[in-house]
Symmetry: C2
Subunit: 211 residues, 2 copies
DNA sequence: TTCTAACGAGACTAGCTGGTTTCGAAAGTG
DNA sequence: CACTTTCGAAACCAGCTAGTCTCGTTAGAA
């Protein structure tokens, strides 16, 4: 799709493409996006950092936009849905993994420039949301729903709100306040969700042991 | 500071500066930043939309960066600290006003591009945080602290976390998920904070009336 | 009325950059 | 070996824009 070679027409003639160049190009693109922003990405710089000629890039991607899209699309990562049997532990596992990702990774460094790009390109926004934000969100949703069934969370809770409360503060610190993204954040948010969305009870213990 | 005229030397000779041009320039700058992003701001466009010659801009600001900085600095707004006597009402007032601001205003439209710029310019980041985010945050902090004294909130709560939980979901939806920024969000977050950070009690009513 | 500086409009330049193309070399296939 | 396609490097161009400068004009102060 991003390739000029016609699909189906498997050419076996000529020098085959260097697959290492593929990775090198995408890696260089992501790193430069993180450093200078998607907008200040220079094709010459990508070529230089990837140790590749510009023609090698344009043979794979028709334009800069296509390159950026491909690089962003490559950010997808698998998220395993934890299932320890304890709602708190499951939530903590997901949130701590999130903290790990958004503290110091390329993904974190790219986010500010990505936010700007998303606000101006609906297609890219969809790609980012569905491509690599959706996994963790889906996992959290499953854990929350299990928490409801299990009786750890109230049945009428606004799941979308809960998801945004879990993820919002992290991104808020990453993008806006510059506050610390650490375990304390993960733990605090999880604890707040468990307490604030605890099921209605007639006599609730102050420190319930959520099973 | 952003003016070429030497401070102190109050010249009263010659044609005085048109003060309407000052506003027109800053307004045009903000609107164009909202539309196209800070990076794609064209000085010609600013001049055109403001109905002003480029020289008139450069007489006030040495460079595009200085213009952008000035426009952002002009975003400050006063936030009255509500004091109804009820913690819930005070929090709701602040959060609903925030919802009003970040739904459809110029400020909201500028944020994505501002986030990107902040990530690359520490001075601008400070300006934005202290200049126009700090007001509401300070007001919320006061309300939270009063809530603690009043016994509506637990004394050992992490105030920074609470502030980020109040603001985070809103910005998360604005910048990342594209979710709705409405009263339901404000109400839900406030309710969560009140429940989740409720003081430790021996017998807590499920629907406590926080006075 | 004279003087000064700001005004809107727009010409100008100096620099940068995305994209295309060309080059000789290299890497495979048959 | 002949053939085809990719490779890195670099030249090239067309387009765009920040910032400066020059007009003739205009608003106030002295």
């Amino acid at each position: 799709m991003t390739d000029k070679r016609e699909s189906g027409t498997q050419r076996s003639m000529g020098r085959p493409r260097d697959e290492r160049a593929d990775r090198a190009i995408l890696d260089a693109t992501l790193k430069l996006m993180a450093e200078n922003g998607a907008h200040d990405l220079r094709m010459d710089d990508v070529a230089g950092r990837a140790g590749v000629g510009k023609a090698t890039i344009y043979r794979r991607y028709r334009s800069k936009d296509e390159l950026i899209t491909a690089a962003v699309a490559g950010l997808v990562s698998e998220i395993a849905i934890p299932d320890t049997g304890w709602t708190r532990a499951d939530l903590l596992a997901l949130m701590r993994s999130a903290v790990g990702v958004y503290r110091g990774s390329v993904e974190a460094a790219v986010m500010p420039s990505l936010v700007e790009a998303m606000s101006r390109d609906a297609e890219l926004a969809r790609l980012v949301r569905e491509g690599f934000l959706a996994r963790r969100r889906a996992a959290l949703r499953v854990v929350l729903e299990r928490g409801i069934e299990r009786g750890d969370l109230r049945g009428d809770l606004d799941i979308e709100l809960a998801l945004d409360v879990l993820g919002g503060p992290l991104f808020y610190r990453l993008l806006v306040t510059g506050g610390p993204i650490d375990e304390q954040l993960a733990d605090g948010v999880v604890e707040l969700i468990l307490r604030g969305f605890a099921p209605k009870t007639k006599s609730s213990k102050s420190k319930q042991e959520t099973r």
